[in-house]
Amino acid sequence: MAELYSLHWRRAYRAAYLVVHDAAAAEDVAQDAFLAAVDALDRFDRRRPFAPWLHRIVINRALDWSRREALRRRVDRAESVFEPLPPPDEIGGEMIAALKELPAEQRAVVVLRHLLEYTPGEISSMLDLPRGTVNSRLRRGLDRLREAAELESLEKERG
């Protein structure tokens, strides 16, 4: 179990963080996913890879957290004039800041596709969503990220 945990924890935590954008919540989500996996070991088909099974739990738990938090608007609050986003100091930071502004559902598919490298078909199965919904969320998310990146470069050009 320790070996399995060490192999997968960092990626699980990173995926959770990129959806919830809250370190404590990401820790909870990652830990809870491993606990859920332990609970369900009897039902796990050991001929299949462990990672997609774990990632499915991670992303769904992260979405649960994000939706509950949406009520309190903690995610949106980070976009507000009260708490402006810290200025990104690198290209990755810009991407992450833009990712944070996406709705949680779009963040989840972007993380599954671009961090965890699942195909839209696999994401569709993991999130129990129609393939078209996955594709549309991915497209909308990437469009917004592209717009953010273009805006950033335009602002830099203008000085």
């Binding site: 179990m1 945990y5 990129l18 820790e27 609970d39 649960d64 129609p130």
Partner: protein, 419 residues
């Protein structure tokens, strides 16, 4: 994904914060759970009622299954006799022992208390009819009932739409920026919503869209329940403001609660509930003749235990009674309570305390029941205000997944309708 994909590279390599010792802490918890499981102490069914997903686990305490709970309680009760610190332990034990919840129905049937629910899932909003039948409205990010439940306002990206409860589109309007927090006025004539950081209002038929305020905090606005076009919102500067949505005249302003997360106007129009993660208060709305604008300077705090977190709060449909879900995190784990603050009550009344985290709370249209979500055990609880009649429904996630498969836990966005 190609390694030349800049997004993939950024997601893989960007530095992200992690709480100190998170990986090691998690390993200890997971190893303990695994060891517990392999010694046969645990079954998945035993988790019900004791499963907490978050902070208790972070502290290295595995939520206890019932068999293990009994063993642990025996140890704790012994400690009560031996330890001077027993009072705190006894308090916790008492609460766990009294945290009785009804046996859940396996599937969602008739809604206890009647009415219709609006439920937001990963796939979009669902309308649940009184008999429990449900329909997915479409791939929308948010939804809210019209006052009589004849329509649902839905938001997706920059588009605000009105659809019928069977999903039939009625009208759509495109806003300048992303639409969020739509709220239908009590008499149906207008819908207020946020677009980016601005506050806008559109007529109930989708016409006459206009800007009301240029800076709005990310909190849903609240309409006056009295039929006048008065809208309460929190400005970007953190003030609670009242504005006439037709004349755009500012009517009143006062500093809102620090970190306010939710506002709601009481049904009698006399007060506005302000809720943050740490505090609750009712703000009086007093009419004045000269000038003909309300005063909102008087506030009444509602007691919240030190260190507790307010998860959600809601005003009863007809009274100034506030129901709230409050979570406490202590050494012995997370506990959540449903508490009621009645008008004139000296202290709040606790309806229920359970181990773990509860979610949203909603009043039934007649104000006699509360729906409380319990994501940790995948259930909804229906709690009457009097004695008896509690009920619960299990397997909520799969009830709101298009294929019927287990999915993420949905959010309750409304219980319709008062009239």
């Amino acid at each position: 994904m190609s390694r030349r994909d800049p997004l993939a590279g950024a997601l893989r390599e960007v530095e992200i914060p992690a709480p100190g010792g998170a990986e090691e802490r998690g390993l200890r918890v997971v190893e303990a759970a695994f060891a517990e499981r392999t010694t046969g102490l645990q079954s998945s069914s035993e988790l019900r009622g004791a499963r907490t997903p978050t902070t208790s686990e972070r502290r290295g305490r595995r939520p206890l299954p019932r068999l293990a709970l009994a063993m642990a309680l025996a140890t704790l009760l012994a400690a009560l006799l031996l330890s001077p610190a027993g009072a705190a332990v006894r308090s916790w034990v008492d609460e766990v022992l009294t945290a009785t919840t009804p046996k859940p129905e396996p599937t969602l049937g008739e809604i206890p208390g009647g009415g219709r629910l609006l439920v937001q899932s990963a796939a979009g909003p669902w309308v649940v009819q009184p008999d429990g039948s449900r329909r997915l409205l479409g791939d929308y990010e948010e939804a809210t009932w019209s006052p009589r439940g004849l329509y649902v306002a839905v938001a997706e990206g920059r588009t605000l739409s009105a659809v019928e409860p069977d999903g039939t589109p009625h009208w759509s309007s495109t806003a300048p920026a992303r639409v969020s927090d739509p709220r239908w006025a009590p008499f149906g004539t207008q819908i207020a919503y946020r677009s980016g950081r601005t506050l806008r209002v559109i007529a109930g038929d989708g016409t006459e869209d206009r800007l009301v305020a240029g800076g709005s905090a990310p909190i849903a606005p609240a309409w006056s329940p009295l039929g006048d076009p008065t809208l309460a919102y929190v400005s970007g500067a953190g003030a609670l403001r009242l504005v006439n949505s037709e004349s755009l005249v500012d009517l009143a302003a006062a500093p809102a609660l620090d970190d306010v997360a939710e506002i709601e106007w009481a049904a009698n129009g006399d007060s506005i509930l302000e809720a943050s993660r740490r505090a609750l208060r009712l703000r009086e709305v007093q009419p004045r003749k000269l000038p003909p604008r309300p005063s909102i300077s008087v506030t009444h705090p509602l007691p919240v235990a030190a260190g507790a977190t307010v998860v959600d709060a809601a005003l009863a449909p007809e009274k100034e009674t506030v129901a709230a879900v409050v979570t406490n995190w202590r050494d012995n784990g997370t506990r959540s309570s449903v508490v009621l603050y009645g008008p004139g009550d000296a202290k709040p009344r606790r309806l229920l305390t359970v181990p773990g985290s509860l979610g949203e709370i909603a009043w039934s249209p007649d104000g006699r029941k509360l729906l409380v979500t319990w994501p940790a055990v995948n259930e909804w609880l229906f709690l009457p205000l009097g004695r008896g009649g509690e009920s619960a429904v299990a397997n909520i996630s799969s009830a709101f997944a298009p294929g019927g498969q287990a999915a993420s836990f949905p959010r309750v966005d409304g219980w319709c309708c008062r009239r």
